[in-house]
């Protein structure tokens, strides 16, 4: 409040000038002053008081009724001022929270980091973007001694911080799997037990696990209630849904998973995604699956990473750069 004295004379001079000349320049000065009050966190009742003081200095014969009315205004402003200060401190708190979450999001990125396998066989592209700062989507690569490649894509119920916390658990369970060459159904069964033991009722995770077996030119996969992926047949240039049925992780302790297998040929492509992709909206309308596939096909000649980037950019724009849910899209093409 040391600035108050200069404020008074400032305010008084400006007010005097305005009352005498009523020019735009003094009003511009008022605007500047107002910004300075905000910057110095001057409460509104203090400003009204400043006005009273300035007025009394300029016009000592201010009518009594007018003086009373200004005191009335001071009284009105007190509670208003409290609310203003409260908002101010909530804003501070909010920016503190935001930076804490930014740190957590960074940590999450480090925690959940996985390395794309270096292989001649597959061209892999993946993009994963949280709706807010932290993600409840997850993908993970496992490389087996037999050169098999395992790919997991998962989505935890809800989004944001609770979802992110839950996802760390999956990461550690996957890291502690005894062997990367385990079959998809065994991996899901294992994870289901961990999740079921560690989450509240009503919490669950969906996961699709797919394994590429280079020696056999085959893929085998199993799904724990995950959004179905798509298989692109290069020869017929058509997509088909990868049907796999299984219960979400974390609901029933003794869930069993069915495993499926199919041959994969050169040029064929597998598309895995989370519901953040399929639940994109155009205006008020949910987009149809075919529309997702059309966009993917449009870029299917590009290298996998470029392709998913383009598809992501397409939907990002369609959603006005604000996704409702975490968005993960993973594509791999068989190169040989």
């Amino acid at each position: 409040m040391e600035t108050l004295n200069t404020d008074i004379s400032n305010y008084r001079n400006l007010l005097k000038h305005y009352i005498e000349i009523r020019d735009e320049q003094s009003l511009y000065g008022a605007e500047q002053l107002s910004k300075m009050f905000i910057k110095n966190n001057v409460p509104p009742e203090e400003i009204v008081n400043l006005h009273i003081q300035a007025l009394e200095e300029l016009y000592p014969d201010v009518p009594e009724y007018f003086r009373h009315s200004m005191n009335f205004l001071v009284e009105i402003m007190i509670t208003y001022g409290i609310a203003y200060q409260e908002n101010y401190s909530l804003r501070e708190e909010q920016s503190q929270l935001k930076s804490e979450i930014a740190v957590a999001a960074n940590m999450q990125e480090t925690l959940l980091a996985t390395t794309k396998p270096e292989t001649e066989d597959l061209d892999i592209g993946v993009v994963s973007a949280p709706a807010n700062q932290m993600s409840g989507d997850y993908y993970h690569f496992l490389e087996g001694k037999d050169n098999s490649i395992g790919i997991a894509i998962a989505d935890v119920i809800g989004k944001g911080i609770p979802a992110a916390l839950c996802m760390s658990m999956i990461k550690y369970s996957m890291d502690s799997l005894p062997e990367a060459t385990m079959s998809p159904k065994t991996i899901l069964k294992n994870l289901n037990r961990v999740v079921e033991r560690n989450v509240d009722a009503g919490m669950f995770i969906t996961m699709f696990y797919i394994q590429y077996l280079p020696a056999k030119n085959k893929i085998r996969y199993a799904s724990a209630g995950h959004e179905p992926g798509f298989y692109y047949n290069a020869e017929t240039k058509t997509f088909e849904e990868i049907k796999a049925k299984g219960l979400v992780l974390g609901v029933s302790p003794d869930a069993d998973y069915r495993e499926y297998e199919r041959t994969i040929n050169k040029g064929d492509m597998v598309v895995l995604l989370t519901d953040g992709v399929t639940e994109c909206k155009q205006g008020d309308r949910f987009i149809e699956t075919e529309e997702v596939l059309e966009v993917i096909e449009q870029y299917s000649d590009l290298p996998a990473q470029e392709m998913v980037n383009k598809v992501y950019k397409h939907f990002e724009r369609m959603q006005n750069f604000q996704f409702r849910d975490d968005f993960t899209l993973l594509v791999f093409k068989k190169e040989v």
Binding site: M1, E45, I52, I78, T79
Partner: protein, 133 residues
């Protein structure tokens, strides 16, 4: 002004009586219009808590003198339900709830020193001090 002056809070009208007494005393001490208004608002919040949530209670005032300054101390005591989680109600986000203690963060903002003690089932005591600038 060495003695405490108190107002018992039983009816809503008593809130106005407490404000009036607090304002008179703060004027005598020498507080300006804005600080008088702040003190009155703080008294309102404290008295309203007593009126709405406690069986009985009172608001007392005393002049406080230190070596170089003087001020007004407002003491609110009641035999109400008490406040279980003081840090929760002193949190800014809580004030919109309108429940018991909702106005207390505001009171804290309006004065220079603020202290609260509460025991569940027994009652609450709030001491608020405003120095004359």
């Amino acid at each position: 002004m060495d003695l405490q002056s108190c107002v018992k809070i039983e009816k809503e009208w008593d809130i106005v009586k407490a404000r009036q007494l607090g304002r008179d005393i703060s004027r005598e001490i020498g507080f300006g219009t804005v600080d008088q208004a702040r003190i009155a608002t703080a008294i309102s919040e404290l008295a309203r808590n007593v009126y709405l949530y406690a069986d009985s209670g009172e608001i007392c005032f005393e002049q406080t003198d230190s070596l170089e300054k003087k001020g007004l101390t407002i003491i609110s005591t009641d035999t109400g339900p008490g406040i279980q989680n003081i840090s929760q109600i002193m949190d800014d986000g809580y004030s919109t709830s309108g429940g018991l203690g909702a106005g207390l963060p505001g009171v804290k903002r309006l004065v220079d020193q603020f202290d609260i003690q509460s025991e569940e089932g027994k009652g609450t005591e709030v001491i608020a001090l405003k120095w004359l600038r």
